[in-house]
Amino acid sequence: MSSTQAMTSHHATPPSGLMRWLLTTNHKDIGTLYLIFSLTMFFAGGTMALVIRAELFQPGLQFVQPEFFNQMTTMHGLIMVFGAVMPAFVGLANWMVPMMIGAPDMALPRMNNWSFWILPFAFSLMFMTLFMEGGAPNFGWTFYAPLSTTYAPPSVTYFIFAVHMMGISSIMGAINIIATILNLRAPGMRMMDMPLFVWTWLITAFLLIAAMPVLAGVVTMMLMDIHFGTSFFDAAGGGDPVLFQHVFWFFGHPEVYIMILPAFGIVSQIIPTFARKRLFGYTSMVWATSSIALLSFIVWAHHMFTVGLPLVGELFFMFSTMLIAVPTGVKVFNWVATMFRGSMTFETPMLFSLAFVVLFTIGGFSGLMLAIAPADFQYHDTYFVVAHFHYVLVPGAVFSIMAAVYYWLPKWTGRYYDETMGKWHFWLSFIGVNLTFFPMHFIGLAGMPRRIPDYALQFADFNMVASVGAFMFGLSQLLFIYNIVQCVREGDPADKRVWEGSQGLEWSLPSPAPYHSFSEPPDTKVALLLTKGGR
């Protein structure tokens, strides 16, 4: 502990109480804020999902009006994407990147605070729309024109500015992460020595900086069309509603990779630990991640196969999309090869990671089916698409976040969570997720359209299963909260290393990690030794 004191002594003690959190420039405090914010949004968005599933439990209209149902699907999507998944990853980056590369903090600590504190305000703006005249946005999380322009409720203006704020926050957060990784690595740590979580975040940050401004551009054009008489998305003036979709998906597809690349990084940290082997194919992992990121800019129109693209467009986007499956396959192969003949144990983070590998791969395969343009004419806008993206996002992105929380919680708090309860949380979530989303493949293929509050009788059984699963999944998340709280309050003390097989610089710090991670650059040789193992 003496080293801890030496590190904090030459810094004034942080202000206490609420002020500490409002004014903090500390990467750990800010990481915690992001994670708590994300968890809050996860429950808010989750509640909306349960409203949707309650309505869909049976055919016919039971609980809500179609108008409100649309608001729920829209808000659910927006909140989960921008409020739950993205901030969770940024929170993890804040906590872990400086510790993994031997840095004292993030490169631009004050801007870091700003990136975070914009978010609660942006989402306040978003939630306010629920109480406005005409209701909240009801045009889907993809807000296609003209639904979001000509036919939008007045609250769309607030939505646009909320999106702008989220964009500003994400861009600044990403700039900070890039600057940290490029500039604050421990002396002697080369790029190819970095742990994979750091690598994947570096590339994600690049995607964010490239994609978020395009989102800002598209909502700006919307704003102009709605209020200032332009005709970007109106054919009557020579524009084109399809233009909206192009610009949106030019942002949107990189966005889905923003939500999965850090997950790849997390799983690449956890699997080696519990397989007690080094990660198989480190270099190929880095290349695979980079090529996924680059390819993600030339596949966007696979979301628009049915909109009426020229034939060359259909073909180009079909093949480029399929190409992404190659580096993705490399990754899955590497994870499996890492486990091959490892001495594996199955603690909660490992369980979530294993489920990630299996279930994300299912989502990847359904993605491949959707990528076949002629087949997509049948699948598009059905529940099959809903099944696809929930498989990559829930047991994909969200499971990886949970795995990360269980994995690093002892490092953050200095205490172990209750392993038995962790396993309960995992198994209930695992069953819940599959009950919810697997049947959606079937009803989708059978032709049930997405985004409707009512449906034909033949879809009733599977919908009922899905709703039961959704409530099961939702309620099991209360266990997650319970586990975290009980770990913080009364968990057994954890040692430095936490896990028997863990490797990497973050494990060379005491648990809980000191307020400022490394106030002096760690010893080069030690750093290298540790990260070599950690990767």
Partner: protein, 295 residues
């Protein structure tokens, strides 16, 4: 990794970011409310929120930067922090590039696909079924629905004001570079002169652009409502103009800082950041001149 740092500098907690968040929130709330009020009769308080937020934001930015400058002058910053600032500014400019890319992309799409299809040419000529009698042309003078989107009578010739503005902006990049070179040589008088010239060139550019907009609106019928030509024209030139305005304000601040003697020959990142920004704005203009005016 030039010089190995021995200790890291981490700033204390700061109150600026949270105030800036509040300012941003007020601005967003106020702007949305004000814009929505344009269509209804009620006025409300929104525009006051917007103004309050903007003033608060200006104040915060000043105070925040003042603090950073003070820290820099106290010598708290190492080479490493300097590099972090550089990375930060470079990536910020890259994000701006992508912002403009969205609008350039929209322009290319409309010109090469949407308008020809509407006019019955190419792969998706079927779009013409909706607007029979419409024929494609660029600049689009006759929109499909002339009642809702009356096309412009005339568009702006590239060889008048736009050419002049190109010359102005390109030479401003040169003068700024001269100022920078002089700064590196430690010749403060020359820095002031050339920086001053740069600012004047920027102001002239803006003056001409305002003139151009007035002509467009009052004489040519080229407005935001004039169909897709007007829309792309104004969004591209408008955002560019906004960036020139911001760039000019930053140049003026840098000028004041030069007068105050803030910069030394080897430590003047603030100056460099602004000049990067200015060059970026310049490059965007070249793109505009080419794709919006000439082609």
């Amino acid at each position: 990794m030039s010089s190995p740092t021995t200790t890291y500098y981490v700033p204390e907690s700061s109150r600026w970011p949270i105030i800036a968040s509040i300012a941003l929130f007020l601005m967003a709330l106020g702007a949305a409310g004000t814009i929505n009020a344009l269509e209804s009769d009620g006025q409300g308080v929104s525009h006051w929120l917007l103004i309050a937020g903007a003033l608060l934001m200006i104040w915060v930015v000043f105070r925040w930067f003042a603090g950073v400058i003070r820290e820099s002058q106290l010598g708290l910053y190492s080479d490493q922090i300097d590099r972090s600032f550089r990375w930060g500014m470079s990536w910020f400019i890259f994000s701006e590039v992508m912002f403009f890319a969205a609008f350039f992309g929209a322009l290319f799409y409309v010109r090469n696909f949407a308008v020809p299809w509407l006019g019955g040419e190419g792969d998706k000529a079927i779009a013409n079924q909706l607007w029979q009698g419409f024929s494609a042309q660029w600049p689009l003078m006759q929109t499909p629905d002339m009642e809702r989107f009356p096309g412009p009578q005339e568009v702006i010739s590239p060889w008048g004001i736009p050419l002049l503005n190109t010359v102005l902006l390109l030479s401003s990049s040169v003068t700024l570079t001269i100022a920078h070179k002089s700064l590196k040589l430690g010749d403060r008088d020359r820095v002031q002169t050339w920086l001053g010239v740069t600012i004047l060139l920027g102001l002239c550019f803006l003056g001409f652009q305002i003139e151009e907009y007035i002509v467009a609106y009052t004489e040519l019928g080229l407005t935001l409502q004039a169909g897709i030509y007007g829309a792309t024209f104004f969004i591209l030139t408008g955002f560019h103009g906004a960036h020139v305005t911001l760039g000019t304000v930053m140049l003026i601040i840098i000028f004041i800082r030069v007068l105050k003697g803030h910069f030394s020959a080897d430590n003047h990142f603030g100056f460099e950041a602004v000049s990067w920004y200015w060059h970026f704005v310049d490059v965007v203009w070249v793109g505009l001149f080419l794709f919006v005016y000439i082609l």
